[in-house]
């Protein structure tokens, strides 16, 4: 950041961009509500498709490293996402993978249980309301009578941001809690010391369970796994102790236990806690210590009650996990 002649710090140059995303990450930025005016006193948004009139060509024209911070949200699903990730990497000093999709693939990453052909077949051919006798599929280049039309290439895999570019920091959550974003923003704006590169920021260094208000018993054992609608949740007892799969042990805290406060078990959007690389592996080991049996057959029966283990343990993280995708 260059200094202005009068010694005042120049305003930060911020960019917010989305790949394969739902827009919820942008909403989390906008949910600063009335404080938005305070944020714009310290920073200029130089690129933010949701809100501002700045175009790809303007980004291309910027010198490398021109943008101080880019919050890149969304996964990399197609060729346009990848192109923009690379472009913004070049133009940005601090590139932040913002939100679960950029961090580990997020919900769109569940598509890695399938491939492109399976997705296209369902959406464009077999869907009950689709009438497509000629089996038309979207084409990346298509010639209409008036000329040529183009759309991006749909990849076979969903990728987190760090599979296509180097990422400086990860700010997790679906979407990140606005308060965490503000903390990180203030740290950058005031020139505070940032953690080492390639680390998670804007989250806590504990697991969800460490911040959860629900009652827990020491060494509680369970002998049955249930679905959330199969119990009457008392609103107070640890979900796991009630037999409900909750990703709390395998998830980093920082969200304020928002789903749990809504009486829904955690699904892991903040990614694994510090020193854990794979949330699914961590969850399986956490469950292993809770199952009340040493009999392999009984254990197998209990574990088989888990509905959709892969889709639950890797709900937000399949592309960024050690599994990456289903082998097809």
């Amino acid at each position: 950041m260059e200094k202005k002649e009068n010694g005042q710090k120049p305003k930060l140059k911020l960019a917010v961009y989305w790949g394969a995303a739902c827009g919820g990450c942008c909403v989390s930025v906008l949910d600063v509500h009335e404080s938005l005016f305070a944020v714009t006193e310290k920073a200029d948004f130089v690129f933010w498709p949701i809100a501002l009139d700045i175009k790809y060509n303007d980004i291309k024209a910027m010198p490398d490293g021109y943008i101080d911070v880019t919050l890149f949200n969304g996964a990399v699903r197609n060729s346009e996402n990848e192109y923009m990730a690379k472009l913004l990497r070049d133009k940005t000093k601090i590139l932040v993978a913002y939100g679960s999709c950029a961090h580990m693939g997020g919900i769109p990453g569940l598509a890695n249980f399938f491939n492109k052909d399976e997705i296209f077949n369902r959406v464009y051919l077999t869907s009950e309301t689709t009438f497509n006798p000629e089996q038309t599929m979207p084409q990346t280049e298509y010639e209409v009578t008036e000329g040529k039309l183009h759309i991006p290439v749909f990849f076979d895999d969903v990728k987190p941001l760090n599979h296509v570019v180097c990422v400086d920091y990860y700010l997790p959550g679906c979407p990140p809690k606005t308060e965490r974003l503000v903390e990180v923003f203030m740290a950058i704006a005031t020139g505070a010391q940032l953690p080492s590169k390639n680390s998670v920021i804007g989250a806590r260094d504990k697991a969800q369970c460490d911040e959860c208000d629900r009652k827990k018993t020491e060494n509680k054992k369970i002998n049955k796994i249930l679905r959330p609608f199969e119990i009457v949740d008392d609103g107070e007892t640890c979900f796991l102790e009630q037999g409900i799969i909750c990703m709390g042990p395998a998830t980093r805290s920082g969200c304020g236990n928002r789903c749990i406060k809504g009486n829904a078990p955690c699904r892991g959007c903040y990614g694994p806690p510090p020193d854990i690389t794979d949330p699914g592996a961590k969850m399986m080991s956490a469950l292993g210590t809770m199952i009340d049996s040493n009999d392999p057959i009984a254990i197998k029966e209990i574990v088989e009650d888990i509905a959709d283990p892969a889709g639950t343990f890797y709900r937000f993280s399949l592309p960024g996990s050690i599994l990456r995708r289903k082998i097809l």
Binding site: C26, L36, D308
Partner: protein, 487 residues
């Protein structure tokens, strides 16, 4: 032939592109609106437990997650053959009113108002919410942000998560409402009503009282004769959360009225090779191309179509405004695309009044939040009105309630063909041979698109906002002969 590319239209969820082809004379030959994105939720919902879907499909859209949550929750209820108890049903609807209020406020002030309050051909740097604030005063601007925030807070209170709500569970909701919370919401709802009244007054004074704008609404290149779709209650009144889907044709006669389970008999989707987004149409009429009129299968599903498809509103003040709008247009149905903005504000008043009614309802603080759930029937459909159109979720499951198939028709998808046609009509009306394609013209083409409040346009709901455009004019060989940028 010249090709004008508008890319990127950055206020889309993801990315969007408009291709305008000019003939050798310089008149508009054709317009293509392309959605270059697909995530494939229909496929990857397969294998998931059906009760988890209401938390997965919220991620279809971070601006209207509550709509997907509700449609999905209702579909999951249907899969298990359960009806939520009255308290749960009303809590869902209460949440849903707050969801509509937040979205409609943001759309009107951040997206629609700049074009009218600031002006359709005003300088781009002023044509945004900050320009609106400058014109109407910071006090009002702050009030807009505040009312939207309060609506968001009510959603967080009822739905757990501030964005991706976790309220629904098969047979009901996870969390009840206390008496203290109810009283608090009642006060807030009262202020929503006042704010909606104020907004309609603003619309009246700043837009309808302005002859140029009124003429634009009534006679501009923004009219399409389409069939109208909307959810109605047993008296054919507008309902966002529940009821039957009614379609009236371009003349206002009932084309069909169907229960959610029967949607497949009435709606069909077409695939075009140049877009990732499908094009729904009325099945009984069939697809006859991008054509308007009584014989075309193209319909729209917007605030205006909801009002067209219904016989009125259930709340008193919204009903009065409903009658006033149709009296200005001289009857039903209305085909003026720009009237979608007006209809949206009438809905804002309805949602506010309905929010108040529900907060007054003694059932709302009841303790019976869930019906007991047995074995899955194996199939279920849930339909709600999303802010941007009728939203259908349809799931099939195995005997364990694991999803084997899913079909989803999203609100804005209904309007895909209509948006293409509106853009073409606006471009044809505004781009004239031999005349310079100015920024003002570009903006007025965008206005055709903006009226739909498309769901892939998240920015529509937020600060500040003009749609960034690059317009490349190319010759037949694709060489760029001119570039027009709006900064």
């Amino acid at each position: 032939m010249k090709q004008i590319t508008i890319d990127p239209i950055t206020r889309l969820e993801g990315h969007g592109k408009i291709e305008i082809f000019l003939d050798d004379e310089g008149d508009v030959e054709n317009v293509y609106f392309q959605v270059p994105e697909l995530r494939g939720f229909e496929k990857f919902c397969e294998g998931r437990p059906v009760e988890e879907l209401s938390q997965i499909v919220t991620k279809i859209c971070g601006v209207c997650p509550g709509c997907h949550h509700m449609a999905s929750g209702k579909a999951a209820d249907a899969v298990y053959g359960v009806e939520p108890p009255p308290t749960a049903r009303k809590l869902r609807e209460l949440f849903y009113m707050a969801h509509f209020i937040h979205s409609h406020i943001a759309h009107f002030y951040a997206l629609a108002a700049p074009d009218f309050v600031v002006g359709p051909t005003a300088k781009p740097e002023e044509r945004n919410i900050l320009g609106v604030v400058k014109k109407v005063g910071k006090e009002i601007g702050t009030e807009v942000i505040k009312q939207r925030r309060i609506a968001q807070e009510i959603q967080a209170l009822l739905g757990g998560h501030q964005t991706h709500v976790v309220m629904n569970i098969p047979g009901g909701v996870r969390k009840g409402l206390s008496e203290i919370e109810r009283v608090d919401i009642l006060g807030k709802a009262h202020r929503f009503i006042e704010f909606a009244r104020f907004t309609l007054k603003l619309f009246n004074n700043e837009i309808l009282a302005n002859k140029v704008y009124l003429d634009l609404i009534l006679n501009g290149p923004y009219s399409l004769k389409l069939h109208s779709m909307g959810l109605v209650d047993e008296n054919n009144k507008v309902n966002f959360y529940d009821g039957k889907v009614r379609v009236v044709d371009t003349l206002g006669n009932e084309h069909c009225k169907y229960s959610p389970n029967d949607y497949m008999d009435y709606v069909e989707e077409r695939v075009e090779p140049w877009s990732y987004l499908k094009f729904p149409y009325l099945k009984k009429i069939g697809w006859h191309g991008f054509k308007e009129g009584q014989d075309s299968g193209v319909y729209h599903a917007t605030p205006l179509s909801r009002l067209n498809a219904a016989d009125g509103m259930t709340t008193p003040e919204a009903q009065k405004e409903y009658e006033r709008m149709y009296s200005v247009f001289g009857g039903k149905p209305v085909h003026a695309t720009m009237a979608m903005h007006w209809a949206r504000l009438i809905e804002l008043l309805y949602a506010s009044e309905r929010c108040f009614e529900l907060a007054e309802d003694p059932d709302i603080t009841g303790s019976e939040l869930r019906a007991s759930v047995g074995k899955p029937i194996g199939e279920g459909v849930g339909i709600v009105e999303a802010q941007r159109g009728t939203l259908t979720h349809h799931y099939w499951t195995n005997e364990k309630g694991i999803v084997t198939k899913a079909n989803i028709i999203v609100g804005t998808t209904n309007n895909n063909a209509a948006i293409c046609m509106s853009l073409k009509k606006a471009a044809q009306g505004l781009i004239k041979k031999g005349e310079v394609v100015s920024d003002g013209i570009l903006n007025m083409i965008e206005m055709a698109f903006r009226a739909y409040d498309p769901c892939f346009s998240c920015a529509t709901h937020h600060l500040p906002g003009t749609m960034p455009l690059i317009l490349n004019i190319r010759d037949k060989e694709g060489n760029k002969i001119n570039t027009l940028k709006r900064d």
